[in-house]
Symmetry: C2
Subunit: 200 residues, 2 copies
């Protein structure tokens, strides 16, 4: 099977990937709940039954999109950490800022990702891999060799914070509630305050 699209006129070539891409666009345009498989088919130029050769149902397609989202988010995290000294507050805050930035740039996708990862092992695992990037930084910061329970406990309030900030910004609450500073500053400040001192 070729990865590249090569329409024969009948066989599409790479419908699965195109449906994922189209769906992602639609979810972003109009929200995950409004999204329809039919509309995705129309845009991809196939019949409304075609997707069911690649996905078991509507949910399955949405999950595939969510999975792609987690993969992409993980890449962004790595890119965000890269320019900083590993295990510093700067590195940790940079991931937090990247988290919120990803949410703001892909609001529909972001919201979907967490709904989709509920009770679905593969997507859940992708989410954990994503979270692992920060946890590694926190482990170094605390001087731990591994991501143990103490690292997890230290990371949780941070995740909580950037997750909440993402939702508030997506839902337009941040304008009403004067933030008084940039997202980056707010995340950096919160990171410093919520993390325990190194060596704990």
């Amino acid at each position: 099977m070729q990865k590249t699209a090569q329409k024969t006129g009948y066989h599409h070539g790479d419908l699965r990937e195109q449906l994922i891409a189209t769906t992602r666009g639609l979810v972003e345009e109009s929200g995950p709940d409004v999204f329809s498989v039919s509309e995705a088919c129309r845009r991809a130029g196939v019949s409304t039954a075609a997707p069911y050769k690649h996905f078991t149902d509507r949910e399955d397609l949405l999950r595939a999109v969510a999975l792609q989202g987690f993969t992409e988010m993980t890449e962004r995290f790595h890119a965000a950490v890269a320019p900083h000294v590993p295990g510093t507050l700067d590195a940790i805050a940079a991931v937090g800022t990247a988290y919120v930035a990803f949410a703001e740039n892909n609001p529909g996708l972001f919201k979907m990702m967490f709904a989709a990862s509920k009770d679905h092992p593969a997507t859940e695992e992708a989410g954990h891999g994503c979270y692992g990037v920060v946890l590694n930084q926190i482990a170094r910061y605390l001087g731990h060799a591994e991501v143990d329970d103490r690292v997890m406990e230290a990371g949780f309030p941070l995740w909580t914070f950037v997750h909440g900030l993402s939702f508030l910004r997506i839902d337009g609450k941040a304008e009403f509630a004067k933030m008084g500073a940039s997202v980056e500053d707010i995340v950096t400040r919160a990171t410093a305050r919520l993390l325990p001192a190194p060596g704990a």
Copy 2:
């Protein structure tokens, strides 16, 4: 118009309120996106066209439910503050804990409330009223007579935190990410760390 339901066999008596109640139950059972007006009608024992005499469309019904949610949440906040000395960290943390508790007890409703309040003045206002309860406490804590910009800025990180915690708990992420303490303890700790010193 009577407030109490008094079925005549034709006229329902209080369909509007019953639809709101039934919808709330359905949203809680199966999530906001899965909810169908038809199912609500079946449970209320009316035809599928009946709701449209009371609500302009599906969204309008959901918004009415969201509005009820905000009203109820506001009551919970007041109840949470009551036993504490006004303007103390305890009082503030109590509202935060009540926030997360409400979300955990009404996950479907909670998620819907924020989606519904987007771009809808009445619901948005209900949300602001709700938030006002904490802001008042923070104003007192900081020694400000009114809820001014400084108070808003101080409150924002707190809102961010409890909002994020609510979503993580609803979506079942809190089990994976070891919290290491009760919701109440985590909220209390975060409150103390995220708020500036009084008098600022």
